[in-house]
């Protein structure tokens, strides 16, 4: 069957074709669609793997590792920042190895199109000592995922399957059967403390030896299986690409171009046998890889050992950049350097005008209400927005950093808003310090820092913006999602009871669209001492709006609107725009976008904004 699918879906189907038994992950762009697709498959097919969105990436990886230790095949999926969260367990499991195939899918984001640091998973792989298989197109990813399971089982090592945004979200027609190839295996875990614990130096040193031996075996398998390919084998000039750049290099090389080419589809361990064949005959080599010079370092080190006298061109000599996504431009530049030609820079066009559409909360987003209420409370208490530190966290809630709210001062990592806030307090900041975090982020990594704040009697106000979904990454279910929207095999976990159980004495629940009450509660929370937690609860407007149409939208009476723009200035709502009348301008609410949240209504001093139902009643 032929289907147009994206790289992440191809990886999901590759895992199904490999007979994966257990899959766990945490949402993160650009990796999420692997789990979305598998969860969807599992819910619609009687024979399917066990699939779950875990509370965070560390737990997801541990679930996959546990399953793989019984001999079953398991997959953990996450974005690169998620691998940081899971790092402690990934490194430890690397030293123990695995029994069943254990594949760790990590999506990198050269160009930072989804935000977050431009980190390179391959550097992490060197540290952990894990093989990295690269992806270069959806179709290749489908087969590479299956090979990853094979390689993992043959070496007894977890294998990192790496992609980048340009592959994870690229879409093409793939011919496959898109079905689960179930492998019948009994879960069998034999007690072996020398392998599955770390107690004692002898055990750890032995595991280190095993890890290195397994890596060596991985290299042999990769060489023998011809995972990496070579074109125009006899040459003095060679271009080497790693992973996702393969199709761009092919596209950039005219057919008459006679240079030697190597396409690396595994970047670690380096396919030394193949690279030896290049070093034996080349005078000049150019290496194309996005982000850090990982393959380049490995090749340079091999070249040094062999006494290679030629020239290696890459990032370390400053020719190619370490920052950003590569396109044909970088490839042309590298090829020109290889052939010692001057680079013909493509004529750049001047963008005489540029327009920025800053991202903001969706129309109807409850977070807008929370940050508005916080700002109003800061004004009423005379604490001042400019003087009060508000830490932000990962997810939609961070949009509170943008105008018109200008609330959040920091964004570091999942759950970091609370620890950072305690840091500001410990440093002696006298004004109240506020931390803001979303529900899923709180479950993911906000619980330990809140326990810490309670134990150390920190003076801070934590606002948990609970919209019931993991929205930024595409509205996935999380532990706090309402019972009725949980998956068939999951249940809700009470956020309020967790916070209470931690020993938080000051806990209030507000509804961010009930503006006056929300302002009063936050005002009080700002002035209290100790750990104060306010849960600001209202469902995300997108899943809500998809279930049923909005009943009570608002409109502006053009006769009463004075065009003071207070509504726009305070809400920044995308449903508000300017409408030209015959002799003046007024504000206008787009009925297609309005959800009836009523926040603009609370800003109008001229009674110009009404809910449509109200107007009818009059």
């Amino acid at each position: 069957m032929k289907k147009m699918i994206i790289g992440n879906q191809a990886i999901a189907y590759g895992a199904l074709a490999a007979g994966v038994h257990v899959v766990a992950g945490y949402p993160g762009t650009p990796s999420s669609e692997v789990l979305t697709e598998l969860l969807n498959y599992a819910q619609n097919n009687p024979e399917a793997p066990y699939v779950e969105w875990s509370v965070n990436e560390k737990v997801a990886f541990e679930i996959a590792a546990g399953a793989a230790w019984t001999g079953k095949r398991a997959l953990a999926a996450m974005k690169m920042s998620g691998a940081n969260v899971a790092a402690d367990s990934i490194l430890s499991v690397a030293y123990s190895g695995t029994k069943g195939g254990l594949v760790l899918y990590i999506a990198d984001d050269p160009g930072a199109e989804a935000g977050m640091p431009e980190q390179d998973t391959r550097v992490f792989a060197l540290w952990a000592g894990l093989p990295v298989l690269e992806t270069s197109s959806p179709e290749q990813a489908y087969y590479q995922c299956q090979f990853a399971f094979e390689l993992s089982e043959a070496t007894e090592l977890p294998v990192i399957l790496r992609s980048v945004t340009s592959v994870a979200h690229a879409q093409e027609l793939i011919d496959a059967d898109f079905a689960y190839q179930h492998i019948d295996r009994e879960p069998l875990f034999k007690r072996d403390i020398f392998r599955f614990t770390k107690a004692g130096s002898a055990i750890c040193l032995d595991q280190h030896h095993s890890l290195l031996a397994r890596l060596e075996k991985a290299e042999k398998i990769i060489s023998r299986r011809n995972i990496n390919s070579m074109v125009n084998k006899e040459n003095s000039l060679f271009a080497i690409s790693a992973g996702s750049l393969k199709p761009y290099l092919i596209e950039s090389l005219p057919p008459e171009e006679g240079i030697g080419v190597v396409y690396l589809e595994s970047s670690y361990p380096l396919d030394q046998e193949l690279i030896d064949r290049v070093l034996d005959q080349a005078d000049r080599i150019v290496i194309f890889e996005e982000l850090e010079p990982v393959v380049e370092m490995l090749i340079r080190s091999q070249a040094g050992r062999k006494g290679f006298n030629g020239t290696i061109i890459g990032k370390m000599d400053g020719v190619l950049p370490r920052v950003g996504r590569y396109s044909k431009k970088e490839i042309f530049k590298g090829l020109a350097a290889l052939k010692q030609e001057s680079v013909v820079e493509e004529e750049g066009s001047k963008e005489a005008i540029t327009v920025k559409h800053p991202i903001t909360f969706c129309a109807g987003c409850p977070h807008r209400g929370t940050y508005m209420a916080l700002n109003r409370a800061l004004k009423k208490t005379k604490l001042g927005k400019k003087e009060t530190i508000v830490t932000g966290d990962i997810g939609c809630t961070i949009l509170g950093m943008n105008p018109p709210f200008d609330s959040c001062w920091t964004e570091v990592s999942m759950g970091s808003s609370i620890g950072l806030a305690q840091g500001f307090v410990s440093a002696g900041v006298e004004k109240p310090v506020v931390a803001t975090i979303g529900d899923s982020t709180f479950f993911h990594a906000g619980i330990p820092p809140l326990i810490n704040a309670v134990q150390h009697r920190a003076n801070l106000l934590l606002i948990i913006l609970d919209n019931g979904w993991t929205s930024m990454t595409g509205f996935q279910v999380n532990p706090g999602t309402e019972e009725q929207f949980q998956n068939s095999n999951t249940r809700r976990v009470s956020l309020d009871r967790i916070v209470e159980a931690m020993g938080v004495d000051y806990l209030k629940v507000i509804h961010p669209l009930e503006m006056d009450e929300a302002v009063d509660v936050i005002k009080e929370g700002l002035l209290e001492k100790g750990v104060r937690v306010i849960i600001s609860r209202e469902e995300c407007a997108i899943p809500r709006g998809r279930r049923e149409p909005w009943q009570e939208i608002y409109e502006i009476d053009p006769g009463k609107c004075t065009f003071c723009k207070s509504c726009l200035r305070e809400t920044g709502c995308p449903a508000l725009s300017v409408k030209a009348m015959e002799d003046n301008q007024v504000m206008w609410i787009d009925p297609e976008l309005c959800t009836g949240c009523g926040l603009c209504y609370t800003c109008c001093r001229f009674d110009a904004i009404h809910s449509k139902r109200e107007v009818k009643d009059v």
Binding site: A170, P247, S349, E351, V355, I359, T360, L399, S577
Partner: protein, 200 residues
């Protein structure tokens, strides 16, 4: 034949559906197609782009992403985002742009003026004179624009061979389930508009 199309607009405008229809049509014609949608911030009023690459040679390997100067055709559903995408256009490429502006809040508050379609045409003139502005688009923009594009491509087949209003209409019938009649009517209006536009 190897052609690249860059589509740009804002969340909610139907950029992704537009791209899907083009890719679907090309695929139905037996062409090799790749599609890359960048929509991370779509729900939040952010920029949405689609990169479509179409090749008549199934053995030709190419990446899904465009580089600067790589787009044979640039489709804009919003003026500001179109001008932001200028660098993707190939010199002499074809531009089709809807006269629709979404002025960001910050610009309204600072009373800044938003670029007009004529200013944008002026900016694009450094690269191409094949600029088609749709002054009076109909909703839904994506289906209307597809009709306009179909008619333009019938008159300029070298820009993207094999694309016709009749063929695209068939793809809409097969792909869009909701409001099909209404969509087909708007698509037809787009075709008529496109015939006028390419004739003038």
């Amino acid at each position: 034949m190897f052609k690249s199309i860059f589509v740009t607009g804002l969340g909610g405008q139907g950029v992704i559906t537009f791209a899907k229809l083009i890719a679907g049509y090309a695929s139905d014609q037996g062409l090799k197609v790749s599609l890359f949608n960048s929509k991370g911030m779509a729900q939040r009023g952010g920029r949405v782009t689609s990169e479509i690459r179409i090749s008549s040679d199934h053995n030709f390997v190419y990446g899904a992403r465009l580089s600067a100067g790589g787009a044979d055709i640039l489709i804009g559903m919003e003026i500001g985002e179109a001008v932001n995408s200028l660098s993707f256009l190939k010199t002499g490429g074809l531009v089709l742009l809807i006269n629709h502006a979404f002025v960001p809040t910050s610009m309204i508050l600072r009373k800044e003026t938003y670029p007009s379609i004529d200013q944008v045409r002026e900016v694009f003139s450094q690269k191409t004179d094949r600029f088609f502005g749709v002054a009076e688009p109909k909703h839904p923009y994506n289906v209307f624009l597809l009709g306009v594009l179909g008619a333009i491509l019938e008159s300029l087949p070298e820009a993207l061979p094999g694309f016709t209003c009749k063929g695209l209409e068939q793809t809409i019938k097969l792909s869009l389930k909701r409001d099909l009649e209404e969509n087909l009517r708007v698509f037809q209006e787009g075709c008529v508009y496109g015939v006028q536009l390419s004739g003038s």
